[in-house]
Symmetry: C2
Subunit: 199 residues, 2 copies
DNA sequence: CAAATTTTCGACCGCGCGTTCTAAAAAGCG
DNA sequence: CGCTTTTTAGAACGCGCGGTCGAAAATTTG
């Protein structure tokens, strides 16, 4: 199976299943509570089966991260591409992130657990500041585009980008604290705040 | 020693020492890497000594949280109390938080580790959404005071409060990613952004 | 159907964890 | 000084972890 570059249909299904179980466990029991045994039990298999399909716990958790990003990125990028000017692109980005978070709180919370806790064998964090930096820099670019086009005001783009990303990262906690919150309402309010901050 | 309500001088020194070691370990090795053995090794004692003084690992980590908050709260509250009107109080709050974060990155990062990872015996998080809620609600109060006084604009106070707190919580990462950052500069820029967002 | 391959199970390994315990050392004290 | 209390070191505990292994089961293939 390692000899083949592509994964069989069954193999992909198994991986999806285990990623889903790991995602649930991360959300409910946190990083420390998400052992291979816990994931295997949710899937109803022996834990050696999980190792067989992923090779290691680290690979499983990286697959969780990749899986969530593969779902989020297209939705957000499509929204940005579909917007008119720089200002609209920024607001579309924020809105798309909020709406995604409203529907995918579990997934984002799980990714956060992995991001903050997964470490490589040498003891360093698997996902570093450089990874968050990519997201911040993207927002910073949107802001600078707006400033260059004269659509946005004169502010420190990097600082505002950090604040916007921090606000987005706080969304899973916001939605889980108050399940009655409507994604569209939060998107409106946060969009309004971002518009004020950048005008 | 349990019989006495107050702790002896030596006892308090030991506790301070172990809290400091735990704080360093949390910052450098993260929550999972901060075992009783790791803390004891930093302090140069047997791990049973740490247990002797704190009773359990959970109590030690709670002492870390209390210690940091005991340092931060007075500084921030004093700054807010010293400011004139509601608007100035809000900006003083933000500035004080940024300046504290600039000088206490390790401590805040350590508290964050405990906050997000420490769980009680039943598996639930030791520090819940209710704890963060207290901080958010405090900011929300500052915002509403400003709105009632006509000094701040018409925005959704809760949402903006969440965004401000999220931005503050992101500060340790910001400062550790770029050690050359000056606290006063960041305070100016973030204060400016908050002023825009709330005017 | 039989051989070959993929997948699963469950036992097992070494390790580090939080905690407990005992006995010795250190410190306080009349 | 001797007695008591506080503090320390270090061994031991049960446990769950990530990961390995060999054999059985299931599936694919000729």
């Amino acid at each position: 199976m390692r000899s083949d570059e592509e994964l069989s249909f069954i193999e992909r299904a198994r991986r999806r299943q285990f990623v889903e179980c790991a995602l649930d466990s991360l959300h409910e029991k946190g990083f420390a509570g998400t052992s291979l045994a816990a994931v295997a039990e949710r899937a109803g298999v022996a834990k050696s089966v999980v190792v067989y399909h992923f090779g290691s716990k680290q690979a499983l958790l990286e697959a969780v991260v990749d899986s969530v990003y593969a779902g989020a990125a297209p939705a957000v990028l499509a929204a940005v591409e579909g917007a008119g000017g720089p200002r609209e692109r920024l607001l579309a980005y924020v809105r798309a992130c909020v709406l995604f978070a409203a529907d995918n709180g579990r997934a984002l919370a799980a990714v956060g657990e992995v991001f903050r806790n997964l470490r490589t064998a040498d003891g360093g964090l698997r996902y570093t500041a450089a990874d968050s930096d990519a997201l911040i820099s993207y927002v910073e670019g949107l802001l600078e585009d707006g400033q260059d086009a004269g659509e946005l005001g004169d502010f420190h783009a990097r600082t505002v980008a950090v604040m916007i990303r921090a606000s987005i990262d706080a969304l899973p906690g916001l939605f889980s604290a108050d399940p009655d919150l409507q994604g569209a309402d939060v998107a409106d309010r946060m969009g309004d705040a971002v518009a004020r901050m950048t005008s």
